[in-house]
């Protein structure tokens, strides 16, 4: 915790049988860190790794579909790949990216020195990683899941014969544990640890969106977990939740899955919307237009997102009354989404727009999200959706939302915050090359899918015959997918190059508005030497600029109001000590899975690891007393310094 002086009980080194780790540098420190910034980086690096894997899966899919009658993959391999592509991109890429950026920047944006639950936060990351690795271990342990990312029962319960679906079920439950703990930490951090003066209506929009999705996750994860557990029981213990012959109903799964799945869509898109709401004002040199409307439309989306799930089920046969209700709710959720887009355009309007790489990606987000939003409205026209659902038109739609939207927003955030995280600027020319390759490749890949879907090409089909009129656009789409791959190669090279000889970044290279830019790049472990006193929205901007009569910014003469104030550097900030126990207790989770799938003996190991981890964790003080650099008799000296 960030409290300057904490009285801690005497050390209990024997509690966990391992000596408390101390180092905060070196490879070992990454396994024991409780620093939210390091955990953010871990999430980010893991997400990039899974993004590359999920991308390779997508390329294989596109190779198979490049021409009719493709024979690069078997039907089984194809079904496995589209299942893993979807599952990976949703659960192991976009969700952890929100956790990555949120972990790193939410405390910095609210002026906090740490998060509320540093060890729980570390546990969330290790649970996510454990779930992801567990899921991917299925490739080597009898076959990966092949039931689609949506895992529809009863195909996945009574008509699926390997262990792949079991891996999928338990992998998602484990990553769900990670999401829940991360959400709890975000909520308590944002509610309780804001700097003095950081009222809700002064909070950066990105932080707001993390708060909203944290609540969404706390509501949504239990719903899918119930469904997953029922599915696992149907598969392994003879229950009949979805088994028609014994009186179950496969539609129950669809309700549970989409009652999670639709809030999930907003869980994926709201953080990138927050990123864009940070980037557009900085590079237009104007405050966000209609801040409160952008915030509340995000909150409104969070609420309304619970009432639209059955629009994934318009062809299921719910009856006209249910279809009418969900049609109307689906159409009107477009209103708050539209409000956001108009406010972003209002932000650009009258600005002085600098087309740096983060800005290009943010603009790309807005431009592509408009298309995804409009095609979403055409889905909302439910009779027409009966032609569109389960075709490539839907694939086009949600990639415009989740790739053209979310991924462009995420890349905007990466280019924007990279200098803050690493103290170096990503190369601007390579960044622009990345953007344009990805922008063109993205539209080549997913634009034609609108046409293909309307021409009747269904999703999730490993092959299609000649003579359907789908050949040309499929080939274009495949070419586009490799253009995206090229753009990602440029991005990875850019990181590699920057690490070796990147241009050093100042603390505030973009002349930005929010608190994270007021501290050094990269930030010190305790974030803020002095906890900031927040006096306005975009507080850091107002420290730098006043306004003249016309409302134009005028640079302030730098005075004593900034970090030069007396009492500056402070050795009395006691950051929580590193800990093994989040890792140890999370490490037990996959062995629960192996125990349930293969042999109960693994459950013993799992139980030991979890129990050991939790016990030692409980007995361990958050700050190791002996790690304190100084005795606790200084406070009264602080004012004197």
């Amino acid at each position: 915790m960030a409290t300057a002086t904490v009285t801690v009980p005497a050390s209990t080194p024997a509690a966990g049988a391992l000596r408390r780790p101390r180092s905060t540098t070196g490879i070992a420190s990454w396994f024991t860190t409780v620093d939210h910034k390091k955990i953010g980086l871990l999430y980010g690096m893991t997400a990039i790794l899974f993004f590359v894997i999920g991308g390779v899966e997508a390329l294989l899919i596109r190779l198979q579909l490049a021409a009719p009658g493709g024979n690069i993959l078997s039907a089984q391999e194809y079904n496995t790949l589209f299942t893993m592509h979807g599952t990976t991109m949703v659960f192991l890429v976009v969700m952890p990216t929100a956790a990555a950026v949120g972990n790193y920047f939410v405390p910095l944006q609210i002026g906090a020195r740490d998060v509320a639950f540093p060890r729980l936060n570390a546990y969330g990351y290790w649970a996510f990683l454990a779930g992801g690795l567990f899921l991917y271990s299925s490739f080597f342990l009898g076959g990966a899941p092949d039931g689609g990312w949506f895992g529809y029962a009863n195909l996945t319960s009574d008509y699926s014969f390997g262990t792949g679906i079991d891996f999928w079920i338990i992998g998602l439950i484990i990553t769900g544990i990670g999401s829940l703990t991360a959400s709890l930490n975000f909520i308590v951090t944002i509610l309780n640890m804001r700097a003095p003066g950081m009222t809700f209506m002064r909070m950066p929009v990105f932080t707001w969106m993390i708060l909203v999705i944290s609540f969404l996750l706390i509501g949504a994860i239990p719903v899918i977990t119930i469904g997953l557990i029922e599915l696992f029981f149907d598969r392994n213990f003879g229950t009949n939740f979805f088994n028609v012959v014994k009186g179950g109903d496969p539609i129950l799964w669809q309700h549970l899955f989409w009652l999670f799945g639709h809030p999930e869509v907003y869980i994926l898109i709201l953080p990138p919307m927050g990123i864009v709401s940070e980037v557009l004002p900085v590079f237009a040199r104007k405050p966000l237009f209609g801040y409160s409307f952008v915030v509340f439309s995000g909150v409104a989306i969070g609420f309304m997102g619970w009432g639209v799930w059955a629009h994934h089920m318009f062809s299921v046969g719910l009856g006209p009354a249910a279809v009418t209700g969900f049609t109307l709710s689906t159409m009107f959720i477009a209103v708050p989404t539209g409000v956001k887009i108009f406010n972003w355009m209002g932000t650009l309007w009258g600005g002085s727009i600098r087309f740096k790489t983060p800005m290009l990606f943010a603009i790309g987000f807005v431009a592509m999200f408009i298309i995804g939003g409009l095609s979403g409205v055409t889905h909302g026209v439910s009779p027409a959706d009966r032609q569109q659902t389960d075709t490539y038109y839907v694939v086009a739609h949600f990639h415009y939302v989740l790739f053209g939207g979310a991924m462009f927003g995420i890349f905007s955030g990466v280019y924007y915050w990279f200098p803050k995280m690493f103290g170096k600027l990503l190369h601007e020319g390579l960044g622009k090359l990345h953007f344009w390759l990805m922008f063109v490749g993205f539209n080549l890949t997913f634009g034609p899918m609108h046409v293909l879907g309307l021409q009747g090409q269904p999703r999730r089909t490993y092959t299609y015959p000649e003579g359907m009129g789908w050949d040309f656009w499929n080939l274009i789409s495949t070419i586009g997918s490799f253009t995206i791959a090229l753009s990602i190669a440029v991005f990875l090279y850019n990181i590699f190059r920057t690490a070796r000889k990147g241009e050093m970044a100042s603390d505030d290279p973009w002349d930005a508005r929010t608190l994270e830019w007021s501290i050094s790049s990269p930030p010190p472990p305790h974030n803020f030497d002095r906890v900031p006193m927040v006096e306005a929205r975009d507080d850091f901007w107002h420290q730098k600029y006043g306004e003249d009569n016309e409302g134009r910014p005028v640079a302030r003469v730098r005075g004593g109001s900034n970090g030069d104030a007396p009492g500056g550097h402070d050795e009395h900030i006691h950051m929580p000590s590193p800990s093994y126990w989040p890792l140890v207790s999370a490490l037990g989770l996959p062995f629960i899975g192996y125990g349930l799938i293969f042999h109960w003996g693994w459950l013993v190991l799992a139980g030991l690891l979890v129990a050991w981890g939790i016990f030692a964790w409980a007995m361990e003080p958050d700050v190791e007393p002996e790690s304190e650099p100084e005795p606790e008799l200084e406070p009264e000296l602080e004012g004197v310094e």
Partner: protein, 367 residues
């Protein structure tokens, strides 16, 4: 001159490329009018046309909004780009009238779109009167069609009279499928434990393609279907021909094939009316015949087989009988799809070349 030069800046080029790329998307949609026999935008009957009319309205609204909003975006990017000597922009925080305007206006547009949408939802829910009744059963991975009033059974190729209402009852005894012939109607899922229905109608005689649209396992891609609409008189002829039981093959290879049919256990899955109705009763218990595999009584009246994916030729039948799962991915070990060994199970062997010839000769008599 300097001003001109600055206009030719990278930003401007960037913006016009952006604009081009954005325009390409709707144009691509319009260009989608190539020869595509499963095209949802080429409705060929009353119900598909109703849905298509709604699509046209929503697409038009979407394109207009797209052009306006993206146009404004591109305009803003060009007009308000940072230029040397710019004054710093005024720090405008928002405008309540604008917020109210762009909340209400989209809501009104959507409300306008909702009216025909909701009307069509209820329209599609009505069962048409004087309709020909068809029961469609989805199987992993083929379609079974029963005409309860006409006492006809067939598979994969659905024959209907043109310019007549068809009421399709949908059911499944394995997993969820979705019945979809885009030119004739939107898809409706085929859900075990539920009885769904959809109305179908074809203006003209013709061939309409479709396929299963809900992922139903390994060979989902190979669960295609055809709808053949006939002129009414022609349809009656077809019905009459389908009601004839199969004839006994007199002698030769075909007769040998008939014997194999019985001895190899084919009838445990397939029915051939008039030859052997003693197959086990299917879990559905509906026909008293085996519906594990397609009814083959009039196999030769079809142009395709195995989920409407292979042309019905003697050569393809031979390949099929040699190893069905090699031709079309299936999972006979788990009792899904056609086995490669006969009789099915551990005691069975693959068919010899001679046996295959005899069986194909027999199948060729099933007109």
């Amino acid at each position: 001159m300097r001003r001109l030069a600055s206009r030719r800046s990278a930003h401007r080029r960037a913006s016009s490329t952006l604009r081009l790329a954005l325009l390409a998307a709707p144009l691509a949609l319009l260009a989608g009018c190539t020869d595509s026999p499963q095209d949802s935008l080429k409705p060929a009957g009353e119900w598909a046309r109703k849905v298509d009319g709604l699509w046209d309205v929503s697409f038009l609204i979407a394109v207009v909004i797209f052009l306006i909003v993206e146009g404004l975006l591109v305009f803003a990017l060009i007009r308000f780009r940072n230029r040397p000597g710019n004054e710093s922009p005024r720090q405008i925080h928002g405008s309540t009238p604008l917020e109210i305007g762009w909340t209400i206006l989209p809501a009104l547009i959507l409300a306008g779109l909702a009216i025909p949408t909701v009307a069509t939802i209820w329209d599609l829910a009505d069962e048409p009167k004087n309709a020909v009744q068809v029961i469609v059963t989805g199987h992993q991975w083929w379609w079974e069609y029963d005409y309860p009033d006409l006492e006809v059974e067939t598979a994969n190729e659905l024959h209907i009279p043109a310019d007549t209402q068809i009421n399709v009852t949908l059911r499944s005894y394995d997993v969820i499928h979705s019945f979809w012939a885009p030119q004739l109607a939107g898809k409706v899922d085929v859900v075990p434990g539920h009885t769904n229905r959809l109305a179908m109608h074809a203006d003209e005689p013709g061939l309409y393609l479709g396929q299963c649209a809900e992922f139903c396992g390994l060979s989902h891609a190979n669960m295609r279907l055809r709808v053949i609409a006939h002129a009414p008189a022609e349809f009656d002829e077809w019905v009459a021909s389908q009601k004839r039981p199969a004839e006994q093959p007199p002698a030769g290879d075909a007769a040998a094939g008939y014997a194999l049919w019985a001895s190899k256990g084919c009838q445990s899955c397939h029915t051939i009316d008039g030859h052997d109705k003693s197959g086990p009763i299917d879990a559905s218990g509906v026909s008293g015949k085996s519906t594990q595999g397609p009814n083959l009584t009039h196999l030769q009246s079809r142009s395709t087989f195995a989920g409407a994916i292979f042309d019905l030729t003697p050569e393809n039948l031979r390949k099929w009988l040699r190893n069905p799962s090699k031709l079309k991915p299936m999972d006979p070990e788990n009792n899904i799809g056609m086995p490669s060994a006969f009789p099915p199970g551990e005691s069975g062997k693959p068919l010899s070349d001679e046996e295959i010839e005899q069986l194909v000769a027999y199948l060729e008599t099933l007109k």
